[in-house]
Amino acid sequence: MSDYILQQAFNALSVGGEYALLALGLAIVFSVMNLVNFAHGDMITVGGYAMFLLLMFGVRDPLLVLPFGVLMTVAAALLLERIAFKPVRNASPTTGMLTAFGASIVIQNIALIFGGSRPKAVPTADWIASSISLGSVQIPIVQVLETGVTIAAIIGLVALLRYTTVGLAMRAAAKDVPTVRLMGIKADRVILTAFAISGFLAGLAGIFILARRGAVDPFMGFAPVLKAFVAAVLGGFGSLPGAVVGGFALGIAEVTLQVVLPQEIAGFRDAIVFFLIGVVLVFRPQGILGERPDFGEKS
């Protein structure tokens, strides 16, 4: 029994880690430029199709395929910033959010036109599906890697935000963009860095999403990011620690329900999780780590 619990705990950590990576990417972009990036998940889709294409061309070496997927996710993020978000940079948050929403629809449907709506299987290496033994417990290697990568990414992000000038500038820009520019720092560079980081985190999460699903389809990124949004709100929207906490909380809640719900109503899991989060937010509208009210704090 305790083996089972340990297995599920690892499962929760890896699922939560995926949400945390995605929610962090959303929070970074939001904190720097107040943009709710609905197209965040579609960058993952771009990365997923990029990996799929590379595999189709016969490139099987994961050391080539995986970095290429991450790279293309980052490229998609940067390209999207240039094409869609830069023109609305000084507009209202609603305008930015709807722009992102529109961009998201465009990417999904371009994937639909060229790839069709059916999932396309991606050949994964055998070792991805294997498990490692921890005493008497079998843990899928994907989960171990995902948890590890998430923790490493969070540590790396903290280091970047603390010890590099551009990281400091990003933290400063979250509160006061004009003064950051007075330091001679290009606002553009800070924003592009934020997008690059969010794309990188999305790319990492994308690899694991692909590994779990074993297929690409036009909505592969949209659906998980929907949950990441909810995780970010649960943690406190715009807060980076909140994104991590919200992500893991959502992962744990999902896996717990999966374990305890009777078979007949297991299908309702997502509805129940979202509803429970709604109840939490009734009592704590700012989320777990959110500040309230943050009206007009940003100038």
Binding site: P93, F229, I265
Partner: protein, 348 residues
């Protein structure tokens, strides 16, 4: 008071456009196009419903279609004949498998269920503002979809409910659309609407109004849901077959695009956006199916309509973030223009 007379006049103008479209379609159009016009009316009601909340409360809503789905399913489950239920919904709970309701009873119950659910959800939702509120509406859409997909005994799950009696006519749809225009316009220009809009533009005013603003937001939310309920009922009773897919992201995208392109802050925007986007959408859908144009067979491109919607939203946000109509109703714009002209005439 004269304010409300003015907005009724404005609604009359918009209503006349809708009536004209309905009459023209009835007299001249082939059934294929009549069907398009009917769906246009349904979407128009949905877009007006969306406008009532988004335009007044200033919160982007992604969950409106959930209420359309709730109403559509409720009316379908109630009104479908027992004979069809025996095969389609044999295990329906609450004894619904053995019951069959009249059309008006079914419609009334469906709208009541929608409004009650909207009230309960809204009471939770109005505690949030801005982006978190928008994400909560998105979560609502997902929750309702998941429930419809999984409550197989009641909804047939992912499979369609068929055999819903086709009772709705184009006339009814047009009537409801015109009524929706009046309701939305009068709400917008009422004291409540004005207060809500003032609060959504000014955070200081909003917090000064405190509890009251939450109540107003809830009122707009419930009214919005009621209009979406009407749209759902009409859809169900016209198409005769409904499935969960009909009430998910595709329709959310379409109706949101209609409103955003026309202009969120006015009922005129909702109407004009619906007309413009319906025309654009139908043209793209024609192209999507790979027609032959001038002897050249175009390839099938499923997804083209989506690209069209997305590109239109992005371009609109970049070039005209307040939509084609802008912040004011068209009658307000005309009145101001003619006043300006009169004033200009006096000076010269």
């Amino acid at each position: 008071m004269s304010n409300l007379v003015q907005s009724a006049k404005g609604a009359l103008l918009l209503g006349a456009i809708v009536a004209l479209i309905a009459v023209a379609a009835t007299l001249f159009a082939e059934p294929f196009y009549q069907r398009i016009v009917f769906i246009f009316m349904v979407n128009l009601i949905a877009v007006i419903g969306l406008q009532v909340f988004m335009g007044n409360a200033g919160i982007t809503n992604y969950g409106h279609i959930a209420f359309m789905g709730i109403a559509a399913y409720t009316v379908a489950i109630l009104v479908t004949p027992i004979a069809i239920k025996k095969t389609a919904l044999a295990n329906a709970p609450f004894g619904l498998a053995g019951m069959e309701f009249g059309i008006w009873t079914s419609v009334a119950i469906a709208l009541l269920v929608t409004v009650v659910i909207a009230f309960l959800v809204g009471s939770m939702l109005v505690r949030q503002t801005g982006t978190p509120a928008s994400i909560a509406t998105l979560a609502l859409l997902v929750i309702v979809h998941v429930v419809i997909m999984n409550w197989v005994d009641l909804t047939r799950g992912p499979r369609a409910i068929y055999g819903v009696p086709v009772k709705a006519t184009l006339g009814w749809a047009a009537f409801c659309a015109i009524a929706a225009i009046f309701v939305a316009r009068l709400f917008r220009d009422s004291r409540w609407g004005l207060q809500l809009r003032a609060a959504s533009e000014n955070i200081a005013a909003a917090s000064a109004m405190g509890v009251r603003i939450k109540r107003l937001r809830l009122a707009a939310w419930v009214l919005s849901a009621a209009l979406l309920g009407v749209a759902g009922v009409l859809f169900s009773l016209f198409v005769g077959t409904i499935s969960p897919r009909s009430f998910y992201f595709d329709l959310t995208f379409l109706t949101l695009a209609m409103l955003v392109v026309g202009g969120v802050y006015s009922v005129s925007g909702a109407v004009i956006g619906s007309v413009v986007m319906t025309v654009g959408f139908e043209i793209t859908r024609y192209l999507e199916n790979g027609p032959s144009l001038a002897g050249i067979k175009l390839p099938e491109m499923f997804g083209l309509t989506g690209v069209f919607l997305g590109v239109t939203i992005v371009l609109c946000m970049i070039l005209r973030p307040h939509g084609l109509v802008g912040g004011d109703e068209i009658d307000e714009i005309w009145r101001r223009r003619s006043q300006d002209r009169a004033a200009g005439g006096d000076v010269s």
